[in-house]
């Protein structure tokens, strides 16, 4: 397919194809390991679009999680470091502090961020670390074969809750984004969904805002994306998206949970800019 931007010009004849979408260069030409119908691909694309639109890719240092998105660096053409399971916010903190000029990003799943990595995400948020966390919540450990996650719905059957999640022994799903939103260090926290095209558009706006917040020096930003796992949930892709928009969204309501970018941070008693090293390291390559 040769979609040349020149075809947008007024001189283009009606027979020529009109460019309506162009895959951002950040999104590499590779087929992914994700299962058919999985939302990760959509979220990768949204992120790639936002990084391209804001011209952030050249200075992005991203942190890959452990989980289904462990190979995110195979699909996104960004400088990437692999973090141990759950530790991405700490890794991102280290990058942020020595590279005040970089755009720092974590991409984490719900097992990574809301179970094994709770300490790291809470304290990165509490420090108001100027990083952007993309949090993909599909309510299951997909990579390891579909076990119960901290975000698994009550009654949901998984390979480690075969009779369904029972609150008496397995507790309740965690709304960690709401928990984090309590912290004054969190500049922006929002929850979107990949349920349908309209929701995907809204999710993209949230991701864009979470990136802008970092550029503006506002503090910690997080976007939770409600996603699906057709294989792990035992559903068709279409059924799984209906499920996201139905029962999942009932437990995890959509919207901007907190936006402190407008408030007076000095009055709130915290510095906007974290301590950074102005010069300790070699300058990034041009």
């Amino acid at each position: 397919m040769n979609l040349d931007t020149r075809t947008r010009g007024p001189a283009a004849s009606v027979e020529e194809p009109r460019l309506i979408y162009r895959k951002p260069d950040v999104l590499l030409d590779r087929s992914t390991h994700y299962c058919p119908g999985c939302g990760h691909g959509v979220i990768h694309r949204l992120l790639a679009e936002v990084l391209t639109e804001l011209d952030l890719a050249p200075r992005t240092i991203a942190v890959a999680p452990v989980g289904c998105a462990v190979f995110a660096y195979d699909y996104l053409g960004l400088d990437f470091v692999e973090a141990p399971h759950g530790r991405a916010p700490a890794v991102a903190t280290g990058i942020r502090r020595v590279r005040p000029d970089a755009f720092v990003l974590t991409y984490q799943g719900d097992g990574d961020l809301a179970a094994i990595g709770t300490a790291e995400i809470v304290h990165a948020a509490a420090r108001g670390e100027r990083i952007t966390a993309i949090f993909v919540n599909n309510g299951i450990y997909g990579m390891t074969g579909g076990q119960m996650a901290p975000t698994t719905l009550l009654g949901q059957r998984t390979t480690s809750s075969p009779a369904g999640r029972d609150a008496a022994t397995m507790g309740f799903p965690i709304r960690i984004t709401e928990m984090l939103a309590q912290l004054p260090g969190v500049a922006y926290a929002a929850r979107g969904s990949v349920g349908n095209a309209s929701l995907i558009g809204k999710l993209k706006a949230m991701i864009r805002r979470a990136c802008e917040v970092q550029i503006d020096g506002g503090g910690f930003a997080l976007v939770e994306a409600l996603s699906n796992c057709p294989v792990g949930w035992g559903m068709t892709p279409q059924e799984s998206l209906e499920h996201v928009m139905g029962p999942v969204t009932e437990v995890f309501p959509l919207g901007v949970i907190v936006d402190r970018t407008a408030v007076d941070h000095a009055a709130a008693g915290r510095a906007i800019e974290p301590v950074v090293s102005p010069k300790a390291n070699p300058t990034p390559e041009a």
């Binding site: 890719a57 050249p58 200075r59 992005t60 240092i61 942190v63 890959a64 462990v70 660096y73 053409g77 960004l78 400088d79 990437f80 470091v81 692999e82 973090a83 141990p84 530790r87 700490a90 890794v91 991102a92 903190t93 280290g94 990058i95 942020r96 502090r97 020595v98 590279r99 970089a102 755009f103 300490a119 790291e120 809470v122 304290h123 301590v275 950074v276 090293s277 102005p278 010069k279 300790a280 390291n281 070699p282 990034p284 390559e285 041009a286």
Partner: protein, 364 residues
């Protein structure tokens, strides 16, 4: 806490410094860009020194939420090519083991200081060398090693901090400096003589992929054939380190019939024992490993050919003694004396163990 400006502005060539603070300052003078820590006794003064000094130099200090947080911050900072360091004490090192394995696997340089305390478990806060196995054989999962440097004085610890950064950046590996709690807590006169290793240009450092292909720092390879290649490359690195980086010190070994093998504080106790024994005409010397890994196996093996016996002294139940026995391969008897729980062997105790060894050797 000593005021850093008082120490550092001293016109005297030798000043009195606490081990933890001297190690911290040596790391700073070695060019440490970023330090990440978490309070734990007996290394807290190291963190406190960094908390004051790093910001005043415009460098990075972060007190993390845990040792897991600290070392993963170090991992992130090191991935950008910064010169980074963490420190802790034994229980904290157990938590740091996870990221050590990742950093070894991905070839990320970092210096980690362990001011060892007595275990197992929460144990106590007294000095100990009971993390020898952890430092030399273990910490995290997988087939990897890290160079382990063991100073016996505060002055040597200062010098080895620069060495640690050099090794980390030359071989792209985490490097451990292990000192028992005495070296962390004691004060000694030290020379304010520092070394700053040269900076390398890293063609792997993450700086943002502007104008070049993206860089990836990782340890994962799901294809066994590919992962085996990564492992083979690591093992080649470890062979290179073992060939070039063995460090040890001999003392009074020229005419020795017996040797005490000891490192760190135990080596200093052994020196006192040796001095007293020499006064009585006992021909005994000291073999002090400075790199615990790579262990000076060949050097000790060579020495053991002309010895009648070796006594290993440790602040542990006997961990390094296993490497001593592997090096000696039965050429002479190897005895052990150690104390645990934060207790330190006395020179008289060591003399008693040496006497027993000499008796055993005489009966052979």
């Amino acid at each position: 806490m000593i005021r850093s400006e008082e120490v550092l502005s001293s016109r005297r060539s030798r000043v009195l410094m606490k081990g933890n603070e001297a190690i911290a300052e040596a790391a700073i003078q070695a060019g440490c860009d970023a330090y990440f820590g978490y309070p734990i006794t007996p290394q807290a003064e190291l963190l406190e020194w960094m908390a004051r000094r790093m910001p005043e130099l415009g460098r990075v200090f972060v007190q993390a939420e845990s040792e897991l947080g600290a070392i993963n911050m170090a991992l992130g900072a090191a991935a950008t090519g910064a010169r980074v360091m963490v420190s802790s004490s034994s229980p904290g090192i157990s938590l740091m083991a996870e990221a050590m394995s990742y950093m070894a696997g991905s070839g990320t340089p970092m210096v980690l200081v362990n001011i060892m305390r007595a275990g197992p478990g929460l144990g106590g806060i007294g000095p100990s060398q009971s993390d020898y196995f952890q430092a030399t054989k273990g910490h995290g999962h997988g087939d990897y090693r890290v160079p382990v440097l063991a100073p016996a004085s505060i002055g040597e610890a200062m010098d080895l901090m620069a060495t640690a950064f050099e090794l980390a950046e030359r071989y792209l590996t985490p490097v451990m400096v292990v000192a028992d709690g005495i070296l962390g807590q004691a004060m000694e006169p030290v020379e304010l003589r520092f070394r700053t290793p040269e900076r390398h240009t890293f063609d792997w450092a993450l700086t943002g992929a502007a104008g070049r292909p993206a860089r990836i720092i990782k340890s994962i390879d799901l294809e066994p054939e590919v992962l085996e290649k990564r492992n083979l490359a690591l093992q080649q690195k470890y062979r290179d380190i073992a060939r070039h980086e063995v460090r040890w010190e001999g003392w009074q070994l020229e005419d020795a019939e017996f040797a005490i093998v000891a490192y760190g504080t135990a080596a200093r106790v052994a020196r006192t024992t040796i001095t007293k024994a020499r006064e009585r005409g006992v021909k005994v010397g000291l073999f002090r490993p400075i790199t615990l890994w790579p262990f000076p196996t060949r050097e000790l093996a060579r020495l053991s050919r002309r010895l009648q016996g070796i006594l290993t002294v440790e602040l542990s139940s006997g961990q390094m003694v296993e490497d001593v026995r592997l090096a000696v391969e039965g050429r002479c008897p190897v005895a052990f004396h150690g104390r645990m729980g934060g207790m330190v062997p006395t020179p008289d105790e060591v003399a008693g163990a040496l006497k027993a060894l000499r008796g055993k050797a005489a009966r052979r």
